[in-house]
Protein backbone atom coordinates (compact mmCIF):
# COMPACT_ATOMS: atom_id res chain seq x y z
CA UNK A 1 0.00 0.00 0.00
CA UNK A 2 2.28 2.77 -1.19
CA UNK A 3 0.92 6.22 -0.66
CA UNK A 4 0.44 8.09 -3.87
CA UNK A 5 1.54 11.58 -3.12
CA UNK A 6 0.79 13.45 -6.32
CA UNK A 7 -2.18 13.69 -8.60
CA UNK A 8 -3.24 15.92 -11.47
CA UNK A 9 -5.05 18.45 -9.29
CA UNK A 10 -2.13 18.82 -6.93
CA UNK A 11 0.43 19.21 -9.70
CA UNK A 12 -1.64 21.75 -11.63
CA UNK A 13 -2.59 23.64 -8.46
CA UNK A 14 0.97 23.82 -7.14
CA UNK A 15 2.34 24.87 -10.54
CA UNK A 16 -0.20 27.66 -10.97
CA UNK A 17 0.00 28.88 -7.38
CA UNK A 18 3.78 28.62 -7.43
CA UNK A 19 4.00 30.72 -10.56
CA UNK A 20 1.70 33.40 -9.13
CA UNK A 21 3.54 33.52 -5.82
CA UNK A 22 6.87 33.73 -7.63
CA UNK A 23 5.57 36.70 -9.64
CA UNK A 24 4.29 38.43 -6.52
CA UNK A 25 7.53 37.83 -4.67
CA UNK A 26 9.32 39.30 -7.64
CA UNK A 27 6.95 42.28 -7.34
CA UNK A 28 8.36 42.99 -3.88
CA UNK A 29 11.81 43.72 -5.34
CA UNK A 30 11.38 44.55 -8.97
CA UNK A 31 8.53 45.65 -11.20
CA UNK A 32 8.70 46.71 -14.85
CA UNK A 33 7.68 50.20 -13.82
CA UNK A 34 7.61 51.79 -10.39
CA UNK A 35 4.06 50.92 -9.22
CA UNK A 36 3.31 54.45 -8.03
CA UNK A 37 4.99 56.38 -10.85
CA UNK A 38 2.36 58.53 -12.59
CA UNK A 39 2.51 59.57 -16.20
CA UNK A 40 -0.17 62.08 -17.29
CA UNK A 41 0.72 61.45 -20.93
CA UNK A 42 -0.09 57.76 -20.70
CA UNK A 43 -3.54 57.61 -19.09
CA UNK A 44 -5.72 54.58 -19.77
CA UNK A 45 -3.42 52.97 -22.29
CA UNK A 46 -4.54 49.58 -23.52
CA UNK A 47 -2.25 46.56 -23.00
CA UNK A 48 0.90 46.73 -25.11
CA UNK A 49 4.48 45.53 -24.90
CA UNK A 50 5.43 48.64 -22.96
CA UNK A 51 2.58 48.25 -20.50
CA UNK A 52 1.59 44.58 -20.39
CA UNK A 53 -1.73 45.18 -18.64
CA UNK A 54 -2.11 48.80 -19.81
CA UNK A 55 -2.22 51.83 -17.52
CA UNK A 56 -4.77 53.39 -15.14
CA UNK A 57 -6.16 56.90 -14.87
CA UNK A 58 -2.89 58.26 -13.50
CA UNK A 59 -0.89 56.49 -16.17
CA UNK A 60 0.48 53.97 -13.66
CA UNK A 61 1.53 50.57 -15.03
CA UNK A 62 -1.23 48.13 -14.10
CA UNK A 63 0.94 45.01 -14.38
CA UNK A 64 3.41 46.44 -11.87
CA UNK A 65 0.57 47.35 -9.56
CA UNK A 66 -1.02 43.92 -9.92
CA UNK A 67 2.29 42.32 -8.91
CA UNK A 68 2.59 44.57 -5.90
CA UNK A 69 -1.09 44.56 -4.98
CA UNK A 70 -1.24 40.78 -5.43
CA UNK A 71 1.60 40.53 -2.95
CA UNK A 72 -0.36 42.60 -0.44
CA UNK A 73 -3.49 40.51 -0.95
CA UNK A 74 -1.46 37.30 -0.64
CA UNK A 75 0.20 38.46 2.57
CA UNK A 76 -3.11 39.51 4.08
CA UNK A 77 -4.74 36.20 3.14
CA UNK A 78 -1.86 34.15 4.55
CA UNK A 79 -1.74 36.14 7.78
CA UNK A 80 -5.51 35.91 8.17
CA UNK A 81 -5.58 32.15 7.66
CA UNK A 82 -2.60 31.74 9.98
CA UNK A 83 -4.41 33.60 12.77
CA UNK A 84 -7.73 31.89 12.16
CA UNK A 85 -6.21 28.40 11.88
CA UNK A 86 -3.82 28.74 14.81
CA UNK A 87 -6.37 30.09 17.28
CA UNK A 88 -9.16 27.97 15.81
CA UNK A 89 -7.06 24.82 16.15
CA UNK A 90 -6.17 25.71 19.69
CA UNK A 91 -9.80 26.28 20.62
CA UNK A 92 -10.86 23.14 18.76
CA UNK A 93 -8.18 21.06 20.45
CA UNK A 94 -9.08 22.25 23.92
CA UNK A 95 -12.82 21.90 23.49
CA UNK A 96 -12.60 18.60 21.62
CA UNK A 97 -10.12 17.05 23.99
CA UNK A 98 -11.60 18.11 27.30
CA UNK A 99 -15.29 18.29 26.46
CA UNK A 100 -17.52 19.21 29.39
CA UNK A 101 -17.95 22.77 30.62
CA UNK A 102 -14.96 24.26 28.75
CA UNK A 103 -16.42 22.82 25.57
CA UNK A 104 -19.90 24.17 26.30
CA UNK A 105 -18.68 27.66 27.12
CA UNK A 106 -16.27 28.10 24.21
CA UNK A 107 -18.58 26.55 21.68
CA UNK A 108 -21.49 28.80 22.67
CA UNK A 109 -19.19 31.80 22.19
CA UNK A 110 -18.26 30.30 18.85
CA UNK A 111 -21.92 29.98 17.90
CA UNK A 112 -22.46 33.60 18.84
CA UNK A 113 -19.65 34.68 16.52
CA UNK A 114 -20.91 32.44 13.74
CA UNK A 115 -24.36 33.95 14.03
CA UNK A 116 -23.09 37.19 12.42
CA UNK A 117 -22.60 37.15 8.66
CA UNK A 118 -18.81 37.14 8.42
CA UNK A 119 -18.50 40.29 6.33
CA UNK A 120 -20.71 42.18 8.80
CA UNK A 121 -18.58 41.03 11.67
CA UNK A 122 -15.47 42.19 9.82
CA UNK A 123 -17.16 45.55 9.16
CA UNK A 124 -17.97 45.86 12.84
CA UNK A 125 -14.38 45.26 13.85
CA UNK A 126 -13.06 47.65 11.19
CA UNK A 127 -15.46 50.32 12.38
CA UNK A 128 -13.92 49.93 15.83
CA UNK A 129 -10.25 49.85 14.87
CA UNK A 130 -10.30 51.75 11.56
CA UNK A 131 -9.22 50.60 8.08
CA UNK A 132 -5.69 49.67 6.95
CA UNK A 133 -3.67 46.58 6.13
CA UNK A 134 -3.05 45.35 9.64
CA UNK A 135 -6.56 45.98 10.85
CA UNK A 136 -7.95 44.02 7.91
CA UNK A 137 -5.76 41.09 8.97
CA UNK A 138 -6.98 41.41 12.53
CA UNK A 139 -10.65 41.66 11.55
CA UNK A 140 -10.58 38.79 9.07
CA UNK A 141 -8.46 36.65 11.40
CA UNK A 142 -11.09 36.93 14.13
CA UNK A 143 -13.84 36.22 11.63
CA UNK A 144 -12.06 33.04 10.53
CA UNK A 145 -11.54 31.55 13.99
CA UNK A 146 -15.00 29.98 14.52
CA UNK A 147 -15.06 27.87 11.37
CA UNK A 148 -11.62 26.44 12.07
CA UNK A 149 -12.52 25.86 15.71
CA UNK A 150 -15.62 23.92 14.75
CA UNK A 151 -13.87 21.69 12.22
CA UNK A 152 -10.93 21.00 14.51
CA UNK A 153 -13.10 20.34 17.54
CA UNK A 154 -14.80 17.50 15.68
CA UNK A 155 -11.41 16.09 14.73
CA UNK A 156 -9.96 16.21 18.23
CA UNK A 157 -13.13 14.85 19.81
CA UNK A 158 -13.16 11.89 17.44
CA UNK A 159 -9.55 11.08 18.31
CA UNK A 160 -10.04 11.33 22.05
CA UNK A 161 -10.99 7.70 22.62
CA UNK A 162 -8.93 6.09 19.87
CA UNK A 163 -6.72 3.31 21.19
CA UNK A 164 -3.38 4.92 20.44
CA UNK A 165 -4.41 8.03 22.32
CA UNK A 166 -5.44 5.90 25.30
CA UNK A 167 -2.02 4.25 25.10
CA UNK A 168 -0.32 7.64 25.06
CA UNK A 169 -2.26 8.62 28.15
CA UNK A 170 -1.29 5.37 29.87
CA UNK A 171 2.39 5.90 29.15
CA UNK A 172 2.08 9.19 30.98
CA UNK A 173 2.22 11.68 28.11
CA UNK A 174 1.01 15.15 29.14
CA UNK A 175 -2.14 16.68 27.70
CA UNK A 176 -0.28 19.22 25.62
CA UNK A 177 1.97 16.54 24.15
CA UNK A 178 -1.02 14.31 23.38
CA UNK A 179 -2.80 17.16 21.61
CA UNK A 180 0.17 18.50 19.67
CA UNK A 181 2.27 15.43 18.98
CA UNK A 182 -0.18 12.55 19.01
CA UNK A 183 -3.38 14.11 17.74
CA UNK A 184 -2.50 17.10 15.58
CA UNK A 185 -0.71 15.18 12.78
CA UNK A 186 -3.79 12.99 12.44
CA UNK A 187 -6.00 16.01 11.81
CA UNK A 188 -3.95 17.15 8.81
CA UNK A 189 -6.11 15.49 6.22
CA UNK A 190 -8.90 17.75 7.41
CA UNK A 191 -6.85 20.80 8.32
CA UNK A 192 -4.92 21.13 5.05
CA UNK A 193 -7.97 21.27 2.75
CA UNK A 194 -9.61 23.61 5.28
CA UNK A 195 -6.57 25.87 5.02
CA UNK A 196 -6.93 26.08 1.24
CA UNK A 197 -10.61 26.93 1.52
CA UNK A 198 -9.84 29.46 4.25
CA UNK A 199 -7.12 31.04 2.13
CA UNK A 200 -9.49 31.48 -0.79
CA UNK A 201 -12.17 32.95 1.41
CA UNK A 202 -9.58 35.35 2.80
CA UNK A 203 -8.50 36.48 -0.68
CA UNK A 204 -12.11 37.11 -1.61
CA UNK A 205 -12.88 38.78 1.71
CA UNK A 206 -9.90 41.14 1.39
CA UNK A 207 -10.95 41.94 -2.16
CA UNK A 208 -14.53 42.69 -1.16
CA UNK A 209 -13.54 44.78 1.84
CA UNK A 210 -11.01 46.84 -0.12
CA UNK A 211 -13.55 47.11 -2.90
CA UNK A 212 -15.96 48.62 -0.39
CA UNK A 213 -13.22 50.99 0.70
CA UNK A 214 -12.85 49.65 4.22
CA UNK A 215 -9.83 47.47 3.58
CA UNK A 216 -6.42 48.33 2.27
CA UNK A 217 -6.29 52.07 1.74
CA UNK A 218 -4.45 53.96 -1.06
CA UNK A 219 -1.65 54.51 -1.83
CA UNK A 220 -1.09 50.83 -0.87
CA UNK A 221 -2.24 48.65 -3.76
CA UNK A 222 -4.22 45.47 -3.24
CA UNK A 223 -6.21 43.49 -5.77
CA UNK A 224 -9.37 44.62 -3.99
CA UNK A 225 -8.82 48.37 -4.10
CA UNK A 226 -7.48 48.13 -7.66
CA UNK A 227 -10.76 46.52 -8.63
CA UNK A 228 -12.56 49.43 -7.01
CA UNK A 229 -10.44 51.80 -9.14
CA UNK A 230 -11.10 49.74 -12.23
CA UNK A 231 -14.83 49.79 -11.71
CA UNK A 232 -15.03 53.56 -12.21
CA UNK A 233 -13.29 53.20 -15.57
CA UNK A 234 -15.10 50.10 -16.76
CA UNK A 235 -16.14 51.81 -20.00
CA UNK A 236 -12.84 53.46 -20.88
CA UNK A 237 -10.46 50.75 -19.76
CA UNK A 238 -12.23 47.39 -19.47
CA UNK A 239 -8.89 45.52 -19.45
CA UNK A 240 -8.12 47.04 -16.05
CA UNK A 241 -11.04 45.25 -14.35
CA UNK A 242 -10.74 42.12 -16.44
CA UNK A 243 -7.01 41.58 -15.85
CA UNK A 244 -7.11 42.45 -12.15
CA UNK A 245 -10.16 40.24 -11.68
CA UNK A 246 -8.45 37.45 -13.60
CA UNK A 247 -5.53 37.63 -11.18
CA UNK A 248 -7.86 37.08 -8.22
CA UNK A 249 -9.63 34.29 -10.08
CA UNK A 250 -6.34 32.55 -10.94
CA UNK A 251 -5.07 32.77 -7.38
CA UNK A 252 -8.30 31.33 -5.99
CA UNK A 253 -8.47 28.71 -8.72
CA UNK A 254 -4.89 27.52 -8.12
CA UNK A 255 -5.32 27.11 -4.38
CA UNK A 256 -8.71 25.51 -4.97
CA UNK A 257 -6.99 22.94 -7.17
CA UNK A 258 -4.52 22.20 -4.39
CA UNK A 259 -7.39 21.68 -1.95
CA UNK A 260 -9.16 19.33 -4.32
CA UNK A 261 -5.90 17.47 -4.94
CA UNK A 262 -5.30 17.01 -1.22
CA UNK A 263 -8.77 15.59 -0.70
CA UNK A 264 -8.44 13.29 -3.68
CA UNK A 265 -5.09 12.01 -2.40
CA UNK A 266 -6.67 11.07 0.92
CA UNK A 267 -9.58 9.40 -0.80
CA UNK A 268 -7.17 7.26 -2.81
CA UNK A 269 -5.37 6.12 0.33
CA UNK A 270 -8.57 4.71 1.79
Amino acid sequence: MKKKNWNGFLIAGCALTGLLIALMLLGKFWTPWPPTAMDPKAMYQPPSFTHLFGTDKFGRDIFSRVLQGGGTTLTIALATVAIGAAIGTLVGAVTGYFGGIVDDALMRLNDALTAFPSILLALLIISLVGPGKYNVVLALGIVFIPSFARVMRTQFASLRDVNYITSARLMGAGRLRIMLVHMLPNTMRTLLPALTIGFNNAVLAEASMSFLGIGVTPPDASLGNMLRDAQSALGRAPWYAILTGAMIALLVFGVGLIGEGLQQRDREVD
Binding site: N163, Y164, S167, A168, M171
Partner: protein, 251 residues
Protein backbone atom coordinates in the same frame (compact mmCIF):
# COMPACT_ATOMS: atom_id res chain seq x y z
CA UNK B 1 16.28 -7.07 28.80
CA UNK B 2 15.49 -7.08 32.48
CA UNK B 3 17.03 -10.34 33.52
CA UNK B 4 17.28 -9.84 37.23
CA UNK B 5 14.26 -10.89 39.22
CA UNK B 6 13.23 -8.16 41.58
CA UNK B 7 12.23 -9.36 45.01
CA UNK B 8 8.47 -9.29 45.36
CA UNK B 9 7.23 -8.05 48.70
CA UNK B 10 4.18 -10.12 48.06
CA UNK B 11 3.32 -12.69 45.50
CA UNK B 12 0.48 -10.49 44.27
CA UNK B 13 0.49 -8.31 41.18
CA UNK B 14 -3.02 -6.95 41.34
CA UNK B 15 -5.82 -7.01 43.86
CA UNK B 16 -9.33 -6.03 42.88
CA UNK B 17 -11.32 -5.78 46.08
CA UNK B 18 -15.11 -5.73 45.99
CA UNK B 19 -15.24 -3.22 43.18
CA UNK B 20 -18.45 -1.62 41.98
CA UNK B 21 -18.07 0.55 38.93
CA UNK B 22 -19.82 2.11 36.00
CA UNK B 23 -20.33 5.31 34.10
CA UNK B 24 -21.64 8.69 35.14
CA UNK B 25 -23.53 10.25 32.32
CA UNK B 26 -23.03 13.94 31.49
CA UNK B 27 -24.93 16.64 33.31
CA UNK B 28 -23.54 19.49 35.38
CA UNK B 29 -21.64 18.31 38.46
CA UNK B 30 -22.01 14.70 37.38
CA UNK B 31 -25.63 14.48 38.36
CA UNK B 32 -26.77 13.12 35.02
CA UNK B 33 -27.27 9.61 36.32
CA UNK B 34 -25.15 6.59 36.95
CA UNK B 35 -25.15 3.28 35.15
CA UNK B 36 -23.55 0.54 37.17
CA UNK B 37 -21.73 -2.03 35.04
CA UNK B 38 -19.71 -4.06 37.55
CA UNK B 39 -21.02 -5.54 40.77
CA UNK B 40 -18.78 -6.56 43.65
CA UNK B 41 -15.93 -7.76 41.44
CA UNK B 42 -13.25 -9.38 43.53
CA UNK B 43 -10.16 -11.23 42.34
CA UNK B 44 -6.39 -11.27 42.42
CA UNK B 45 -3.65 -11.75 39.88
CA UNK B 46 -0.55 -13.50 41.18
CA UNK B 47 2.97 -13.03 39.98
CA UNK B 48 3.64 -14.86 36.70
CA UNK B 49 0.01 -15.79 36.16
CA UNK B 50 -2.03 -15.37 33.04
CA UNK B 51 -5.57 -14.75 34.19
CA UNK B 52 -8.29 -15.10 31.58
CA UNK B 53 -11.35 -12.90 31.69
CA UNK B 54 -14.18 -14.32 29.60
CA UNK B 55 -17.65 -13.04 28.96
CA UNK B 56 -19.86 -11.96 26.11
CA UNK B 57 -20.36 -8.46 24.78
CA UNK B 58 -21.86 -6.18 27.41
CA UNK B 59 -20.61 -8.28 30.30
CA UNK B 60 -18.35 -5.48 31.53
CA UNK B 61 -14.94 -6.78 30.42
CA UNK B 62 -13.79 -3.48 28.93
CA UNK B 63 -15.10 -1.48 31.88
CA UNK B 64 -13.08 -3.68 34.21
CA UNK B 65 -9.99 -3.08 32.07
CA UNK B 66 -10.54 0.69 32.26
CA UNK B 67 -10.88 0.55 36.03
CA UNK B 68 -7.66 -1.40 36.41
CA UNK B 69 -5.82 0.98 34.10
CA UNK B 70 -7.08 3.95 36.08
CA UNK B 71 -9.01 5.40 33.17
CA UNK B 72 -12.12 5.14 35.30
CA UNK B 73 -12.54 5.29 39.08
CA UNK B 74 -14.47 2.66 41.00
CA UNK B 75 -17.66 3.73 42.78
CA UNK B 76 -16.65 1.64 45.75
CA UNK B 77 -14.06 -0.99 46.50
CA UNK B 78 -10.34 -0.85 45.96
CA UNK B 79 -7.87 -1.67 43.22
CA UNK B 80 -4.36 -2.27 44.51
CA UNK B 81 -1.39 -2.46 42.17
CA UNK B 82 1.77 -4.11 43.36
CA UNK B 83 3.67 -3.25 40.20
CA UNK B 84 4.34 -0.05 38.28
CA UNK B 85 1.63 1.15 35.97
CA UNK B 86 0.20 -1.66 33.82
CA UNK B 87 0.04 -1.30 30.05
CA UNK B 88 -2.55 -2.51 27.59
CA UNK B 89 -2.65 -4.33 24.25
CA UNK B 90 -5.82 -3.70 22.28
CA UNK B 91 -7.81 -5.97 20.02
CA UNK B 92 -7.87 -3.84 16.92
CA UNK B 93 -4.33 -3.58 15.57
CA UNK B 94 -5.50 -0.86 13.20
CA UNK B 95 -6.36 1.74 15.80
CA UNK B 96 -3.72 0.93 18.40
CA UNK B 97 -0.79 2.45 16.53
CA UNK B 98 -0.61 6.13 15.62
CA UNK B 99 -0.84 6.22 11.81
CA UNK B 100 1.09 9.50 11.60
CA UNK B 101 4.42 8.02 12.73
CA UNK B 102 6.78 5.18 11.90
CA UNK B 103 7.45 2.16 14.09
CA UNK B 104 10.68 3.56 15.50
CA UNK B 105 8.95 6.74 16.67
CA UNK B 106 6.06 4.77 18.15
CA UNK B 107 8.40 2.53 20.12
CA UNK B 108 10.60 5.40 21.26
CA UNK B 109 7.74 7.60 22.42
CA UNK B 110 7.12 5.91 25.79
CA UNK B 111 10.81 6.38 26.60
CA UNK B 112 10.81 9.99 25.44
CA UNK B 113 7.80 10.69 27.61
CA UNK B 114 9.53 9.02 30.55
CA UNK B 115 12.46 11.32 29.95
CA UNK B 116 15.22 9.38 31.66
CA UNK B 117 16.97 8.02 28.61
CA UNK B 118 19.24 9.74 26.14
CA UNK B 119 18.90 9.21 22.44
CA UNK B 120 21.43 6.38 22.16
CA UNK B 121 19.85 4.46 25.03
CA UNK B 122 16.43 4.86 23.52
CA UNK B 123 17.54 3.57 20.12
CA UNK B 124 19.24 0.62 21.79
CA UNK B 125 16.15 -0.31 23.78
CA UNK B 126 13.96 -0.01 20.71
CA UNK B 127 16.23 -2.48 18.90
CA UNK B 128 16.20 -4.82 21.90
CA UNK B 129 12.44 -4.90 22.21
CA UNK B 130 12.02 -5.34 18.47
CA UNK B 131 14.16 -8.45 18.64
CA UNK B 132 12.08 -9.66 21.58
CA UNK B 133 8.88 -9.51 19.56
CA UNK B 134 10.68 -11.17 16.65
CA UNK B 135 10.45 -8.33 14.17
CA UNK B 136 13.19 -7.40 11.74
CA UNK B 137 14.84 -3.99 12.08
CA UNK B 138 13.75 -3.01 8.62
CA UNK B 139 10.25 -2.50 10.07
CA UNK B 140 11.54 0.47 12.08
CA UNK B 141 10.97 2.84 9.19
CA UNK B 142 7.52 1.45 8.33
CA UNK B 143 4.27 3.23 9.00
CA UNK B 144 1.52 1.14 10.62
CA UNK B 145 -0.46 0.98 7.38
CA UNK B 146 2.42 -0.83 5.72
CA UNK B 147 2.25 -3.69 8.25
CA UNK B 148 0.08 -6.79 8.40
CA UNK B 149 -2.27 -7.37 11.33
CA UNK B 150 0.13 -9.76 13.02
CA UNK B 151 3.07 -7.38 12.60
CA UNK B 152 1.05 -4.51 14.02
CA UNK B 153 0.11 -6.57 17.02
CA UNK B 154 3.79 -7.36 17.59
CA UNK B 155 4.58 -3.63 17.47
CA UNK B 156 1.74 -2.96 19.95
CA UNK B 157 3.18 -5.55 22.30
CA UNK B 158 6.65 -4.03 21.93
CA UNK B 159 5.32 -0.53 22.65
CA UNK B 160 3.51 -1.80 25.73
CA UNK B 161 6.64 -3.57 26.98
CA UNK B 162 9.34 -1.03 26.24
CA UNK B 163 9.18 0.58 29.66
CA UNK B 164 9.42 -2.89 31.19
CA UNK B 165 6.10 -3.09 32.98
CA UNK B 166 5.44 -6.24 34.97
CA UNK B 167 1.74 -6.49 34.31
CA UNK B 168 -0.10 -6.28 31.00
CA UNK B 169 -3.76 -6.16 30.18
CA UNK B 170 -4.42 -7.84 26.85
CA UNK B 171 -7.88 -6.92 25.58
CA UNK B 172 -8.79 -9.53 22.95
CA UNK B 173 -5.23 -9.35 21.58
CA UNK B 174 -5.64 -12.10 18.98
CA UNK B 175 -9.34 -11.89 18.11
CA UNK B 176 -8.78 -9.85 14.97
CA UNK B 177 -5.98 -12.07 13.67
CA UNK B 178 -5.96 -15.00 11.29
CA UNK B 179 -5.72 -18.35 13.02
CA UNK B 180 -2.10 -19.11 12.06
CA UNK B 181 -1.01 -15.60 13.07
CA UNK B 182 -3.06 -15.95 16.24
CA UNK B 183 -1.09 -19.04 17.21
CA UNK B 184 2.20 -17.18 16.63
CA UNK B 185 1.18 -14.19 18.72
CA UNK B 186 -0.04 -16.43 21.56
CA UNK B 187 3.26 -18.29 21.51
CA UNK B 188 5.11 -14.96 21.59
CA UNK B 189 3.07 -13.79 24.57
CA UNK B 190 3.97 -16.95 26.46
CA UNK B 191 7.65 -16.63 25.64
CA UNK B 192 7.65 -13.00 26.76
CA UNK B 193 6.01 -13.92 30.01
CA UNK B 194 8.87 -16.31 30.77
CA UNK B 195 11.64 -14.04 29.57
CA UNK B 196 10.41 -10.77 31.01
CA UNK B 197 8.74 -12.11 34.10
CA UNK B 198 5.29 -10.77 33.19
CA UNK B 199 1.76 -11.35 34.36
CA UNK B 200 -1.27 -10.85 32.13
CA UNK B 201 -4.93 -10.21 32.45
CA UNK B 202 -6.08 -11.81 29.22
CA UNK B 203 -9.52 -10.68 28.09
CA UNK B 204 -11.14 -12.85 25.46
CA UNK B 205 -14.43 -14.16 24.23
CA UNK B 206 -12.74 -17.20 22.72
CA UNK B 207 -12.73 -19.89 25.36
CA UNK B 208 -10.43 -22.14 23.43
CA UNK B 209 -7.78 -19.44 23.29
CA UNK B 210 -8.22 -18.85 27.01
CA UNK B 211 -7.80 -22.53 27.65
CA UNK B 212 -4.60 -22.53 25.63
CA UNK B 213 -2.85 -19.65 27.32
CA UNK B 214 -4.33 -18.96 30.75
CA UNK B 215 -3.64 -20.37 34.20
CA UNK B 216 -6.74 -19.03 35.85
CA UNK B 217 -10.05 -17.90 34.45
CA UNK B 218 -12.75 -15.46 35.55
CA UNK B 219 -16.21 -15.76 34.00
CA UNK B 220 -18.04 -12.44 33.86
CA UNK B 221 -21.75 -12.20 33.20
CA UNK B 222 -23.80 -9.03 33.56
CA UNK B 223 -21.00 -7.39 35.55
CA UNK B 224 -20.76 -10.20 38.06
CA UNK B 225 -17.99 -12.79 38.29
CA UNK B 226 -20.10 -15.93 38.30
CA UNK B 227 -17.19 -18.31 38.45
CA UNK B 228 -13.44 -18.21 38.90
CA UNK B 229 -10.73 -20.75 39.34
CA UNK B 230 -7.95 -22.76 37.86
CA UNK B 231 -8.43 -23.19 34.08
CA UNK B 232 -8.32 -26.98 34.14
CA UNK B 233 -10.85 -27.13 36.94
CA UNK B 234 -13.29 -24.67 35.48
CA UNK B 235 -13.13 -26.16 31.99
CA UNK B 236 -13.37 -29.76 33.17
CA UNK B 237 -15.93 -29.18 35.83
CA UNK B 238 -17.83 -25.92 35.42
CA UNK B 239 -20.13 -25.09 38.33
CA UNK B 240 -22.23 -22.18 37.12
CA UNK B 241 -24.94 -22.76 34.52
CA UNK B 242 -23.67 -19.86 32.42
CA UNK B 243 -20.14 -21.25 32.30
CA UNK B 244 -21.58 -24.57 31.18
CA UNK B 245 -23.56 -22.89 28.45
CA UNK B 246 -20.56 -20.90 27.28
CA UNK B 247 -18.35 -23.97 27.17
CA UNK B 248 -20.95 -25.99 25.31
CA UNK B 249 -21.36 -23.26 22.71
CA UNK B 250 -17.62 -23.08 22.07
CA UNK B 251 -17.11 -26.83 21.90
Amino acid sequence: MNERKEPHPTDLVLEVQHVNGGYRKGGLLGRGGYKQILFDVDFQVRHGQIVGLVGESGSGKSTLAKLILGLLSPESGKIVHHTPRPQIIFQDPYSSLNPAYDVEWILEEPLRVYGKYDRAERKQRVRDILARVELDERFLSCRPDELSGGQRQRVSIAAALIRRPRFLIADEPVSALDVTVQAQVLRLMRTLREELDLSYLFISHDLNVVYQICDRVLVLKGGVIVEQGDVETVFRNPQHAYTKRLLAAAE
